[in-house]
Symmetry: C2
Subunit: 151 residues, 2 copies
DNA sequence: TTTATAAATTATAATGATTGTAATTGACAC
DNA sequence: GTGTCAATTACAATCATTATAATTTATAAA
């Protein structure tokens, strides 16, 4: 974990930003809850446990900054809030998401399944791809089981 | 155009909804501006030209309704607003989008490029896919040219 | 044609996420 | 130590969207 904090610190410094205590606390929350997809509000509440004096606006600004530096991905699943996800070490792209329409759970797919598709877009449309976002909506394994039982 | 209005009317009726004048005016705006990705506010302003007495809330409700019936797709490109897109006749899925990071333009890909990927998700993750959203971020053909010239 | 009923709409207020602002703090260079 | 600039705080403001209550419209029964 310290290693990753260090890396992020360097990334900030390379753009002449500092890793302030507030920013560090925010990053630590994101690292601890890496599996989740936290909203700004949720991050704020968790950071408050470490650093009670932090303001909500600071959390927003920090997440925005981390997002610009591609340290986190800002994603939106269609509920009213933006969610923030640490980008995997070395990943060039957003990872993909499986959103369950029954229970709302979100699974992640880290592998990049879109190399072929990306090539098609590049060649056929002349569009130079920098990044992509792919979300599947459907029914997760667990909910499929439950539906099968009750019917 | 009248044909498509008719079809939508039938789709509404099949769920016992009516095609009220306000709803019809809204659908007509969407048909006329099919290439665009209008926000609720933009739809509202355009509908007002046809039916000045319409309220913003009605536009929201109508778009929500059309969205539930899968007549339009509600999409979100990360700016603060939801955008609404008529679904192509007979299309089972969202179409994909190419969002240019330089000029903000949005191109559409109607073909479904994800059949293979969908199969992988289904087989390897046991996730039953109902729909998907795919957006590429990058540089469009036009902007690539301009960058090439100025450099 | 009246009357009853439910759906749809309007105008307006409320909500909730996010952003802006002015004042304050803190770190670092001179 | 003093000045400077970035970062933060507390709070106000904004903007998209949703809820509410009153009114209108459409439809069907009497």
């Amino acid at each position: 974990m310290e290693h990753r904090i260090d890396r992020i610190k360097k990334q900030l410094h390379s753009q002449s930003y500092k890793l302030t205590p507030q920013r560090e606390a925010t990053v630590r929350v994101l690292l601890e809850r890496e599996e989740d997809h936290l909203s700004a509000e949720e991050v704020y509440l968790l950071v408050k446990e470490k650093a009670p004096e932090i303001g909500l606006a600071t959390v927003y600004r920090t997440l925005e900054l981390l997002s610009e530096l591609k340290i986190v991905d800002k994603i939106n699943f269609g509920d009213g809030v933006s969610r923030y996800d640490l980008r995997k070490e070395g990943a060039a792209h957003f990872h993909h998401h499986l959103v369950c329409m029954e229970c709302g759970s979100v699974e992640e797919i880290v592998e990049d399944l879109l190399d072929d598709v990306e090539k098609i877009v590049q060649d056929d449309w002349g569009f130079q791809v920098k990044d992509h976002r792919l979300t599947f909506h459907g029914v997760c394994r667990q909910c499929q089981k439950e539906v099968a039982q009750t019917s």
